[in-house]
Amino acid sequence: MSFLIDSSIMITSQILFFGFGWLFFMRQLFKDYEVRQYVVQVIFSVTFAFSCTMFELIIFEILKVLNSSSRYFHWKMNLCVILLILVFMVPFYIGYFIVSNIRLLHKQRLLFSCLLWLTFMYFFWKLGDPFPILSPKHGILSIEQLISRVGVIGVTLMALLSGFGAVNCPYTYMSYFLRNVTDADILALERRLLQTMDMIISKKKRMAMTRRTMFQKGEVHNKPSGFWGMIKSVTTSIPGSEMPDLTLIQQEVDALEELSRQLFLETADLYATKERIEYSKTFKGKYFNFLGYFFSIYCVWKIFMATINIVFDRVGKTDPVTRGIEITVNYLGIQFDVKFWSQHISFILVGIIIVTSIRGLLITLTKGMYFVSSVLLIRMSMPLEYRTIITEVLGELQFNFYHRWFDVIFLVSALSSILFLYLAHKQAPEKHMAP
């Protein structure tokens, strides 16, 4: 009886999440565009619903709500469905849409998308080989295999994103990095942009006029195609003396158009910076600035820990928050149930990180993989007692490996994004100094 009640609770919450995902999709992500294919929307909402249900199940496990066996059953079921969607449906539809965009293959859409999907499955499988995740006890199509592969991809992606985010977040929020932009700068840049546009226009006018006079003279405008065509146009230079001019002018126009695009992007960038400067002077801006400092310290700490983990070949058993609280408590000598509180706080922190990253990632389609991998990583952050059920469900996976892999990728991506941002930051002020 309790099983039925539990199931009904689960299903209701799933429907709620589905509706929420649908609304979110319509309102936030695609506010200004119209999505014609409802299939995409349905798949998105279903994936979203199931991912949220998994998250909910974790919460239930910690808080010990609902019957244990029914929880277990729902875990398994959810996992199966998510994996099914992830590995089978989503790649298939991605392939299908990509193929239908290429006009050539329009007729045999289905066939080509199946081919694409098979290639994807092949690479997906091959991915498993270099990593120590195959345990000889299980067969080929078992859940553990799929999860391990999905987990690897997801962990990689998440580490990449966290690394980038850890560096980008302080950079964006802290006003220390904001370049000083004056109105005169913007005006000068706009003037250059308009000048470039005028140059493009005058060249195009010449071309149009030339073409019209040629047309009126009755010459057939034959574009010199290929090698022989070009040689021909050179030799017949006297009557067609305007033709080589056209290709030359066209090249100049192309270069100028590229320049105008660059100038446009730079101007937009300057406007954005100016707005940020103004925003940082308001109260909200100052508040975020302060938070930015805090968060940047946390990010630096994470990078540091990742380095240490790799260098000293250690697997992170406790996360920084727990350690931080332990240290504080010991220092202040307060009677505090450390374990209880730290568990909740670290859990909330992980949740916040996931939610804020989910928002960014909901726009991409790798959300599903991301979610499975974040489950795996939550497991590392939770104290030992709660790990049993998750291990039981997810089978024997090498969790240590995952954590090590995460640290490596995190470090690599953080360092490369630091390098990238440094270069971008250096380059920008130089560009504006040039006349």
Partner: protein, 236 residues
């Protein structure tokens, strides 16, 4: 080389409706083979014979400024786009016949270009409630073009065309519906070509001829810092 007089026409519309294809068709008389995203603004030039067939025939350059982007862009992008809206003589509003939102967004586009800012909420005003007076005193000629006509099924065509007729009425403008991949849509002598020609004639008249008779001030320049130097830059 600018021995002929010139006229500036903006081509506005949502991303992907086919502005670049349209401009290419109008200026080069060719179908655009590989359309790609327009970053910033791309310009093309068309030679137009004003009052063709009469003794007063004169050729003008019509500059078609194809401004890329979407109405929901960040305000920094909007401010950057605003630099292209100076001293405009005509506006072509392009929407996709298969996509209703692009038609609705035309109101916001026209307001953005005409410098009367809509309140930045996400709520779009639909046909019925719209304040036509805002466009009644507008001096700049508008033209509404609907693209991708070939993708509308025969049975739905009537319903779509009625809707677009209302749209054009709201703007007090003519409308043309065509398919940018078909050269025959704008063949000389077809009704589309006639409407287009009439529109360009109207733009040229408003720019060059009404000035002398009727002292109607030109398009009021946007109030920006240093509006003066920018204006003198454009008129050679």
């Amino acid at each position: 080389m600018a021995s002929l007089d010139r006229v500036k026409v903006l081509v506005l519309g949502d991303s992907g409706v086919g502005k670049s294809s349209l401009v290419h068709l109008l200026c080069q008389n060719q179908v655009l083979g590989n359309p790609s995203w327009t970053v910033g603004c791309s310009v093309d030039v068309r030679l137009h014979d004003y009052k063709e067939g009469t003794p007063e025939e004169k050729t003008y350059y019509i500059e078609l400024w194809d401004v890329g982007g979407s109405v929901g862009s960040a305000s920094s992008v909007k401010s950057t786009r605003a630099v292209f809206y100076n001293s405009v003589n005509g506006i072509i509003l392009v929407h996709d016949l298969t996509n209703k939102k692009s038609s609705q967004n035309l109101y916001r586009w026209s307001l953005e270009a005409l410098n009367r800012d809509l309140v930045p909420t996400g709520v779009l005003v639909t046909n019925g409630d719209y304040d036509r007076e805002q466009f009644a005193d507008n001096q700049i000629p508008l033209l509404v073009i609907g693209t991708k006509l070939d993708q509308i099924h025969e049975t739905k065509r009537h319903e779509v065309l009625t809707r677009t007729a209302f749209l054009a009425e709201d703007f007090n403008a003519e409308e043309i519906n065509l398919d940018c991949t078909n050269l025959r849509c704008l063949a000389a002598g077809s009704s589309n070509a006639v409407k287009l020609s009439r529109f360009f004639d109207k733009v040229i008249e408003k720019r060059y001829f009404l000035r002398e008779g009727n002292q109607i001030p030109g398009f009021p320049d946007r109030k920006r810092f240093g509006g003066g130097p920018l204006k003198s830059l454009h008129y050679d």
